[in-house]
């Protein structure tokens, strides 16, 4: 194939979604955030809902999510995204409203906001990135940090008697009557990327259909925080994170 044939629009087989802009991402190479951002953008384009989508960005590495997707955004205080989303969907009930939250945001400081929004059955989608660590602030222990896992605030590994147990928020959320769809996915290989995209699409469709709260947890890597190469981080996630946070649908009504 010649260069001219390759760049001929008639031969186009794949292009970046228009919902995603060209701003260079601040995420570390190997980080899962970029992949999940792209999936959300693709789903928004495929559902043709760019004009009616309002995203709520968290505090954490994804604080800058608003830079990359060309939709309206609100940037919340740490953990408060579901409270903002509640007000937005109540006042604009025909919009697509989603939050994008990390494990510190959703499972520590925003536990109350998350559980109560889901328990009220707010018609929103919650995208939950669980990498078991605080990435933005430099690798501190998260509520989802595994037992024995080393972080800058658990330098000798998380000890249950000292730090308590890892918190499985997604299992908790699935037990609430307000949630209609709760699933746990990952984006470490092509097959799982495709499954995560399908999950995001279903969550967004549920929100628009006013079926209640949908939660898509994406078990993710933080190779910088974990101090591993991206490839090693993926392997470590499969071996260590997946037993604690197994993939698959937990609830799908």
């Amino acid at each position: 194939m010649t260069l001219n044939e390759i760049i001929n629009p008639a031969n186009l087989v794949y292009s970046k979604t228009k919902v995603m802009n060209d701003t260079p991402m601040h995420y570390c190479p190997g980080c899962s955030h970029g992949v999940v951002h792209k999936l959300i953008a693709e789903v928004i384009e495929e559902m043709n809902v760019q004009e009616k989508t309002i995203g709520i960005a968290p505090v954490g590495c994804a604080v800058f999510a608003y830079k990359y997707l060309d939709i309206d955004w609100q940037q919340a205080a740490h953990g408060r995204a579901p409270a903002l989303a509640t007000a937005v969907i109540r006042l604009l009930p025909d919009r697509l409203v989603f939050t994008y939250q990390g494990d510190g945001d959703l499972a520590a400081i925003g536990t109350a906001e998350t559980i109560h929004a889901a328990n009220r059955g707010e018609n929103i989608a919650i995208i939950f990135i669980n990498n078991g660590i605080y990435g933005m602030t430099g690798g501190q222990m998260a509520p989802t940090t595994l037992e024995g896992m080393k972080t800058s605030t658990s330098p000798n590994g998380r000890k249950i008697e000292l730090n308590g147990n890892p918190l499985n928020m997604t299992d908790l959320l699935a037990r609430l009557p307000g949630t209609c769809y709760v699933t746990r996915q990952s984006v470490h290989n092509v097959a799982n990327v495709r499954k995560t995209k399908k999950a995001i699409r279903l969550a967004f469709e549920n929100a628009l259909a006013h079926k209640g709260t949908s939660v898509v947890e994406v078990v993710s890597t933080c190779n910088s925080g974990w101090k591993m190469t991206p490839a090693d981080a993926n392997t470590w996630m499969v071996d260590n994170m997946f037993p604690e946070y197994p993939l698959g649908d937990i609830k799908n009504l």
Binding site: Q50, E51, K52, T53, I54, I56, V63, Y66, L69, D70, I71, D72, W73, Q74, Q75, A76, A77, R80, A83, L84, A85, T86, A87, V88, R90, L91, L92, R95, A112, E113, H116
Partner: protein
Amino acid sequence: MEEVRLMKGNEAIAHAAIRCGCDGYFGYPITPQSEIMETLMELEPWNSTGMVVLQAESETSSINMVYGAAGCGKRAMTSSSSPGVSLMQEGISYIAGAELPCVIVNVMRGGPGLGTIQPSQADYFQAVKGGGHGDYHMIVLAPNSVQEMADHLCLAFDLAFKYLTPAMILADGVIGQMMEKVVLPPFRPRLTEKEISEKYPWATLGKPQTRNPNIINSLRLESDEMEELNLLLQKRYAQIEQNEVLYETFLCEDAEYLIVAFGTSSRVSKKAVELARAEGIKVGLLRPITLFPFPKIPISQLANQVKGMLTVEMNAGQMIEDVRLAVNGRVSVEFFGRMGGIVPSPDDVLDALKTKIVN
């Protein structure tokens, strides 16, 4: 003819909210202001104007719901009392930093801590000096009657949207709980989404193809960008101080002494002024209606006329600092107050005037 009704200050807030086109109320119960949400739930405005009323899981959530609603260009409000307003400070700071309008009602009770459910004015510093982190102010209105509770709510929304800043109604348990005559404000319709998108082009209503994304945000990682926002906010506060000062004077024309008091204290002080006048003491009253912006200029002018000033507050002496700044040492400024939820009597104020100022 205007209909005169009898109701509590808290109830007046609820009625006024519906009438002034409020889009959303988000709150959490706390004494002595729970009648605000109770009245709204009773009135069911979602069936009439479409206003959303939601009981949140905490004051933290309430104020962040207000943040989300305000980001959509909606008229959003919350109400609480002192301990609850402390919990809201994070959200208020974000709202100020994101340049969003909203209204917060604080029906103050005594503190610190869980304190008492009795009335107090001890949150003056918190309301007037910022309260949360970072360099910001709120517009602060201090009603002293049930009528003003209703009127100030509409005014607070107008000022908040004019200057894109949170506005607080700083009432106390007396004003919230007492019943008085009130003429409710006329009905103003809620804005349509089309009107919102025209009037507030920054609102996050969903991005049409014709514009760039709207982003509601208080984050400025680069120092020069942060300072740019700080300077913009300070400029706005200077405009507020220039344009929006409200106060009321009583018998100040020939006054040799001045009492400065707001809210419930101003009503007690007004009676004390009448008692003092009956004894031949020429005292006047200045009541700040806006606490931020503070009526610095009229107080400064009266400092050239009177021999001394007394601030009367239901706290340990907070507004006195702003009065002293306005007076700048020209006359003595003394303080009289009660704490713990105790409302001073006019005789108490008269005694304090005599012992601290006149003699």
